[in-house]
Symmetry: C2
Subunit: 457 residues, 2 copies
């Protein structure tokens, strides 16, 4: 460890309690993008926190939720890193399954519990405090940094791509970098080179024009049965998606990617216990948990709703039935192509009258595994965590990495600091306390090292 | 028409507005048995209305909702009719589909709109006003009448059978009689000789121990998929129930029953328009709407619930999925036997871990079509409606007729006065105004005629 890095670590340790207090204020502010709850207030709060550490920050409006954009300018010849993240969170329901209220963060057993703790508020706040520490200890941030903190990640980032397309010059950088998802369950840090794409749809089946008394079930079609039969044609119990052509454009892993995946340590027994299941679903090509998480697309029922779902019994013949379905895509699948194949499949199976509404879509992305920034990032992580990092060619989570890799043509690295039991998108979401501080310790190492490694000749 | 019958009709006409005012007070009182809403209050109100017309009335407690029991005693040698009905109603949801609030009855286009109007409050109030008219005009009710108005019909009448078994002597009668369901869509009155049975269950499928981020869908089982696949094994798009042995005990219609069903007039095109569908589901034996309604059992999905069902998108992998299913049974199917077959089928199909909770069950029943009271009832209906009655060996609705036919060993006749577009169990339930008054006009004819026809020799 350099002397400077030791002083940076000491600064972080010294201001630990204040960093947490500031983070808790940020966590208490709801920012539920899908329901438009608290979004403007949260953007203003984040901008204030960024300005407090010397980041020149603006709130840039979009058609729905604003982007909080910040810049630190070193000089025109210095390398530039584009830091991305999101301040919006998932809805907290079901509320009765939370141990403490979702927007009243609480520390228990070394974790901060609350909605949006790990996904993504603590993990974006890391870079705010990284800037503070670098400035306070070294008097300087040694390269140019641009921050894009958006408010629409949990609803599929509909306005990020237009923003990126319209601001290509402003957003020029040597690489894109951000913290989301989680480190390995062994506690080893990871670097993620790719995120999955997404097609999120709602299927609506209809029967009679209104709900009917269920005695009429001998003759009147039931929307819930129609939906059940239609869903059954999408995926069978063998776990293979049965939409014709669904797997056509799945890009096989390269040999290096496959070897890298094979090096990911895994205790499948421990994972099974964590999930509370007996066995993992069968894979299409092979059965490894990580191989499938990295290489395979999904077709997941995220919600089913029809008829009477309250307490007790009601003998109703439902006129409407709905399924929310998210399909996580891998390179080189394209959401619009999968949408067409889904429509054609339902038509061919006799379900032309089932409506498909698209809620959002994302193109999958995977940064080349031989990029020269990768060893720098791996080295910084190794030093701050004291553990050997693991590289993922991509992970199971979806995200808008294609806007960096495809539109801005920047390699994109995701470096998580949450733990695998973070329960993001679920009740009792948490952020590991040490993950939060490891994030800042990684930040104060990685930016100076990238400044040196990427310097223009 | 006899002179007496003319005077009875005149009395009914004269007191029309008051009868409606009294009925509306009764309709405004919620009585949702499945949620225990307003049940005690409604029982008290009904008892008061019955006492007002000289019915000796008691409220008899059961383990859940009370039975309102009343008697009019003529003499020990007079015939006795047991009048049955229910004062409980279905939940009104979804509330946003009601034109006027469910518990604020309103007359529009000759119909009274509100929850419980046709099913069953107006149709039980008919007999209260029948007693009033008979007493006022003739000074007498010419036979013995016993009233059982229960509060648990919409939840499967769990306490009716014990009540009947414990009170066989008190409930002795020559026949059981009640008004529920609806007249034919042509406007012709009907007599129903049988009701279907019922097995209402909730299936619960489970995956991981808690909801998961849907990125884990490559490996972690999804409860909604499991439920979908399991439901798909219960009934295929051909509309035949696929549970082995489900149809084993279905009693074929006798020749007379089959001929009687064939005489039921039907305008299938009009029915299709009413339901807003293109065609009826295919039948197991034949395709007639009424043949199937009378002769065939059902397996109906009444509710589906899993994962996120709110607005917008949420990428969750549900740990629990539930389906409410009602199966309407015909003689000689037995709910406990069907339950065993369902469990065995799910086990055999690999769904031994899907839980089945029984909410309620009813044994099906069918009164012999050659009973001597039938022509008396048909004659009275013909005179009060001025239209030829139609006889149904049974209908699609379920009900506890077996307690009369099997336990009390009484023939049981159901004589509806609601119209087919009553929308019972659905939003905008209604009771036809003329149906209500036809009910009273039928009542004042049928009891005196039965008194004569059934007199003991």
């Amino acid at each position: 460890m350099t002397d400077i890095e030791a002083r940076l670590d000491a600064y972080i340790e010294e201001h630990r309690e204040r960093f947490l207090e500031e983070l808790f204020v940020f966590l208490r502010q709801p920012s539920i993008s899908t329901r438009d709850e608290g979004m403007g207030e949260c953007a203003e709060m984040l901008a204030g926190l960024m300005r407090d550490v010397g980041i020149e920050t603006r709130i840039i409006e979009t058609p729905r939720h604003p982007i909080v954009y910040g810049e630190i300018f070193k000089d025109a010849n210095a390398p530039t890193v584009l830091v991305y993240g999101h301040y919006d969170v998932q809805p907290p329901e079901p509320l009765d399954l939370w141990t403490s209220p979702p927007f009243e963060p609480e520390i228990r057993n070394g974790k901060i519990y609350g909605r949006g703790t790990s996904d993504n508020k603590a993990q974006i706040f890391v870079y705010v405090k990284t800037m503070e520490a670098l400035r306070a200890v070294t008097g300087d941030v040694p390269l140019n940094i641009k921050f894009i903190y958006e408010g629409e990640e949990e609803i599929g980032s509909p306005n990020l791509e237009p923003f990126i397309r319209e601001n290509k010059e402003m957003l020029k950088a040597d690489l894109a970098y951000f913290s989301d998802s989680h480190i390995h369950e062994s506690g080893r840090p990871i670097v993620i080179l790719g995120l999955k794409g997404m097609l999120y749809v709602e299927l609506t089946a209809r029967g009679a024009s209104t709900d009917q008394h269920s005695m009429r079930a001998t003759g009147v079609p039931n929307a819930a049965w129609k939906l059940t039969w239609a869903l059954n044609t999408l995926k069978a119990p063998d776990n293979k998606v049965a939409i014709p052509g669904f797997y056509d454009d799945v890009r096989p892993l390269t040999n290096l990617e496959r070897d890298t995946v094979a090096q990911i340590p895994v205790d499948e027994k421990e994972l099974l216990t964590y999930f509370g299941i007996d066995r993992f679903l069968p894979g299409r090509v092979q059965d490894g948990y990580y191989y499938n998480l990295v290489a395979e697309p999904t077709c997941n029922i995220a919600g089913l709703d029809s008829g009477y779902t309250g307490p007790g019994s009601k003998t109703v013949l439902p006129s409407v039935a709905r399924a929310k379905i998210d399909m996580r895509l891998v390179p080189d699948q394209r959401p619009e192509d999968i949408m067409k194949k889904l429509r054609a499949h339902l038509d061919a199976e006799g379900y032309a009258d089932i409506e498909i509404e698209e809620f959002n879509h994302l193109i999958p992305s995977r940064t080349p595994i031989d990029n020269p920034a990768l060893p720098v990032i791996v080295g910084a992580l190794r030093d701050s965590y004291g553990k050997e990092p693991i590289v993922f060619p991509n992970i199971g989570g979806a995200g808008p990495n294609y806007v960096f890799t495809d539109i801005l043509e920047q390699p994109c690295f995701v470096v998580p600091h949450a733990t695998h039991d973070q329960a993001n998108h679920a009740p009792d979401e948490s952020m590991d306390l040490e993950g939060f501080f490891n994030g800042i310790r990684t930040g104060v190492r990685i930016f100076p090292r990238l400044a040196t490694a990427l310097v223009r000749n």
